[in-house]
């Protein structure tokens, strides 16, 4: 009974004390499709992703009711760092959904401004003023946002608090004229129209070279996967083998504070996720031990006898360093390889039916005949030319008889396609009943090859993975020169996932292979399942920028690069890499084989 009443009271008081207007809430997911474009148009760095911000404790005095209900301790504010723009996951500050939506766009415009001088108050006020002078259309929106915000703010009780609030209100109403916050004032109430006063330094946790675990690509992804926790790095505690005597009610505190001890339970509690959401910060520490050993297990290089067969000594390829804005010559070593244990094999039985269907479709696509006029002989007369010829004859000038026929020669499509498949370890993850990503990729390669062999276009199949810059493994599955036969099928069947995704080097090598093909149109098709990444600094922005450069180089060389991905978040970075029309996201990975072939047909038609 006490529980029941307690939870009922809790619900009631929380609802009464909740400061926002949930019925008018606007979610980040609602504005996300427009957010990147808007942010870039405002002058924001095009390399940045958009992520949802995590709530941080603001420490300001709350309303009485909110204190009773124990809510409103955290606030989600926007900020920007070198990797991403962080925006609140949802905004329900105003009773009017249009204002909440407007607030998103306001925050993006503000965050796109170059950082201003001064403290939190001054820099935000400065940025606001700059926004309003350069974008007069925003002024009306801003005035409405401020006018609706002021009644929602409460007056602090004490004097310094009031002075601070006065300064904030002044800065809100008259941007650009802010003075510094009065010294010694308590933490002011957060201002949702401004950027975060002290952004959590999420990047610090990313700066670690070396030991990055591969990204998880399970099916359980949801909006929380984008969430950034406020992280603190701690030096490892050197105690040998401590034990934690845990008092049940303190479990939150023992989570929060980093103590290197054996926890009393091995299993994760079911509501651990919720507990993590509640915490101010998650402590991340390097003890150099447990994770390293796990990585070692993942990455232990196979003995030479079990590894794929290397071909030659490898090739040195450049890599783009976006910080220095130049290509670093001979930075990666790319090792062409043949899959181990590949013996000639026929197409698996389960793919036979699909392959038959595709072959029929693509055979119909191939003999694309077009009329050619001005032939010396042919089945049809070229009327235009005959009329012109007769007119010239009548003019009395001697003209040699021109070719007056139309022919229908069998047109070669003059098309070469190189398919580059991502074989990194992330493709090992499972897709429910359909098996692993790698299986889907393998089937896609097989069916794709059947289709292309049927329509007669020249094609090559390659796979890649990488292990730091010294070993970019470039797996030769079917070369342009060789026919598509059981030997090639056997090599495709023998692919296995492994290692990381250093995409730039693989694209550069593919470009140079494709350039040797004598075809009018050359398509570079990349099948991927996630962002570029590798063990060293090749992740985040560095990897993305290098890949982008490699794609640009391919495009400059006259190739048509195109990316097909099963990564559902690819919309965040692929437009930057391949351009808006240069990629396609397959939301249901099981359909990759069908999508890939139909895409090829439409791309080349």
């Amino acid at each position: 009974m006490e529980d029941l009443v307690g939870s009922w009271w809790d619900r009631l008081v929380r609802r009464a004390a909740y400061p926002g207007y949930p019925q008018a809430a606007v979610l980040l997911d609602d504005v996300a499709p427009q957010a990147l474009l808007f942010f870039r148009a405002m002058g924001g760095d095009p390399g940045l992703a958009i992520r949802s911000a995590v709530g941080t404790a603001h420490g300001a005095r709350r309303r009485w009711l909110a204190r009773v209900a124990g809510i409103d301790t955290h606030v989600e504010l926007a900020w920007r760092d070198g990797q991403a723009l962080y925006l609140p996951e949802r905004i329900d500050l105003y009773p009017d959904a249009a204002l909440n939506r407007g607030l998103y766009f306001w925050l993006m415009a503000l965050a796109a401004q170059p950082p201003a001088q001064g403290d939190w108050l001054q820099s935000n006020s400065e940025g606001t003023a700059r926004c309003l002078t350069t974008m007069p259309g925003l002024a009306t929106l801003y005035q409405r946002l401020v006018a609706a915000l002021l009644p929602l703010r409460n007056w602090p009780a004490n004097g310094t608090g009031q002075a601070a609030e006065q300064a904030i209100r002044h800065a809100l109403l008259q941007p650009g004229t802010a003075t510094a916050l009065p010294a010694g004032s308590p933490p002011p109430q957060p201002v949702p129209l401004w950027l975060h006063p002290s952004p959590p330094s999420a990047a610090a946790a990313n700066q670690d070279d070396g030991q990055q675990p591969e990204q998880g690509h399970g099916d359980s992804r949801d909006s929380k996967a984008r969430r950034r926790y406020r992280a603190r790095r701690d030096n490892p505690d050197d105690r040998k083998n401590g034990m934690l005597l845990q008092f049940r009610a303190e479990s939150i505190f023992t989570w929060d504070d980093y103590v290197r001890v054996n926890r009393h339970q091995d299993e994760d509690e079911p509501d651990d996720g919720a507990a993590a959401e509640d915490m101010d910060r998650l402590t991340v520490s390097r003890d150099g031990k447990t994770r390293a050993s796990r990585l070692k297990f993942d990455l232990d290089l196979p003995a030479a006898a079990y590894d794929d067969t290397p071909l030659g000594d490898g090739l040195l390829l450049p890599e783009w360093d976006y910080r220095r804005e130049r290509l670093v010559a001979d930075h990666c070593r790319l090792q062409p390889m043949l899959p181990r244990d590949a013996s000639p094999a026929p197409l698996p039985d389960k793919l036979q039916a699909a392959a038959r269907r595709l072959r029929r479709q693509f055979q119909a696509l191939s003999p694309e005949r077009s009329r050619k006029s001005g032939e010396a002989s042919g089945p049809d007369l070229d009327l235009d030319r005959i009329i012109r010829f007769l007119a010239e004859q009548r003019s009395g000038v001697a003209v040699a008889e021109p070719p007056l026929y139309q022919a229908w020669p069998p047109a070669g499509r003059s098309m070469a396609c190189l398919l580059l498949a991502d074989l990194s370890l992330s493709t090992e993850s499972w897709l429910g009943e359909a098996g692993q990503v790698i299986h889907v990729i393998r089937d896609s390669l097989l069916l794709f090859a059947e289709a292309l062999a049927a329509c007669g276009d020249a094609f090559g199949l390659y796979g890649f993975s990488s292990l730091r810059r010294s070993e970019v493994r470039y797996l030769l599955l079917k070369d342009f020169g060789e026919p598509y036969d059981d030997a090639a099928r056997g090599r495709i069947l023998a692919i296995r996932p492994g290692y990381y995704t250093r995409m730039g080097a693989a694209i550069r090598q593919s470009t140079s292979i494709l350039l040797q093909q004598p075809a009018q149109r050359r398509l570079l098709l990349i099948v991927s399942d996630g962002k570029p990444n590798d063990l060293d600094h090749y992740e985040g922005r560095y990897g993305v920028e290098d890949t982008r450069q490699a794609v640009l180089e391919a495009r400059r060389a006259g190739l048509i690069p195109f990316c097909v991905t099963v990564d559902r978040e690819a919309g965040d970075y692929l437009p930057h890499l391949f351009g808006k029309r240069g990629y396609s996201v397959v939301h249901d990975a099981h359909r990759l084989p069908q999508v890939l072939t139909s895409l090829y047909a439409s791309l080349t038609a």
């Binding site: 499709p33 427009q34 957010a35 990147l36 474009l37 808007f38 870039r40 148009a41 405002m42 002058g43 095009p46 766009f105 415009a109 350069t134 974008m135 007069p136 259309g137 925003l138 002024a139 009306t140 929106l141 012109r388 007119a391 010239e392 009548r394 003019s395 000038v397 003209v399 009018q520 149109r521 050359r522 495009r555 006259g558 048509i560 437009p575 930057h576 351009g579 808006k580 029309r581």
Partner: protein, 269 residues
């Protein structure tokens, strides 16, 4: 050499706002009898520049918009049947050579590759135009000048200028004018007042950041002039921006919505 004689007062000089020394380059190339290649994005003022220079030098202008069915006969000329007789009819290139004027081939990459070869004897020091059909060989007078333009932004694998053709031209690269110049263009050409021109230029700067990422091509000066004209004629600014700047750039609903949000930062209600 014949000095540039001013155009008749009846035809006013088409407005053109020079960015740098392109007018001097054009005039020097004309004096030295060199052909000129102009490259630049859509709507940045290439055609206007040529019209301006032709009027300034007092030369007749023959413009050909190239397309992929343009044959050599379309340029040089052909026999036509008229009243039971055949007549030779000069094409624009031949007319330009005879008149000693400027022949301007717009978007020359659109023309078939074999078509551009007919330009070759005109673009080197021979400066002749052999007309095979009539057996005539025209020598270009000193006033004649060949100008071609193309847009290097098109990502078309098949449509590029052959190097052997490119290497015959003096080349000028055009781009969208810097804000200060574009401001003048909008005021002169679009009839916008100072404040409106400023906002439009700021909006263009914002939209041009999206070129290559979300938009195939950035918003052109021509579209800005359209928007300015519509607003000056009394249309609501937001509507004018939608029809002149946003809708021409994309078809995708999300992109359109985001572009309108960008427009609202300048012309918001």
């Amino acid at each position: 050499m014949n000095a540039p004689h001013r155009a008749a007062a009846a035809a006013p000089l088409p407005f053109y706002q020079p960015l740098a020394d392109e007018c001097e380059v054009f005039e020097a190339a004309w004096r030295q009898q060199l052909p000129l290649l102009i490259k630049g994005p859509t709507g940045c003022g290439k055609t206007r520049f040529v019209a301006h220079m032709a009027a300034r030098l007092g030369l007749p202008l023959f413009t050909v918009s190239c397309h992929d069915d343009l044959s050599a006969a379309d340029l040089v000329g052909r026999h036509l049947i008229a009243a039971g007789d055949t007549q030779w009819c000069d094409g624009p290139l031949t007319r330009a050579v005879r008149a000693g004027g400027i022949c301007y081939l717009d978007e020359v990459v659109e023309a078939r590759k074999d078509t551009t070869v007919v330009l070759h004897p005109l673009t080197d020091d021979r400066r002749i135009l052999p007309i095979e059909r009539t057996g005539e060989q025209l020598a270009a007078p000193p006033g004649f000048m060949l100008v071609v333009s193309y847009n290097p932004g098109y990502q078309h694998v098949l449509k590029t200028l052959k190097p052997s053709t490119r290497q015959r031209f003096v080349a000028l690269a055009f781009d969208f004018p810097p804000p200060a110049v574009e401001l003048t263009v909008l005021r002169e050409e679009g009839g916008a007042d100072e404040a409106l021109a400023r906002r439009l230029v700021a909006l263009a700067t914002q939209l041009r950041r999206l070129g290559g990422y979300h938009l195939d091509e950035a918003v052109s000066t021509r579209l800005l002039v359209y928007a300015a004209k519509l607003i000056a004629s009394g249309m609501a600014a937001r509507t004018a921006c939608r029809v002149a700047l946003v809708e021409p750039l994309s078809d995708e609903p999300d992109t359109l919505a985001a572009l309108m949000a960008v427009v609202d930062t300048q012309f918001g209600a």
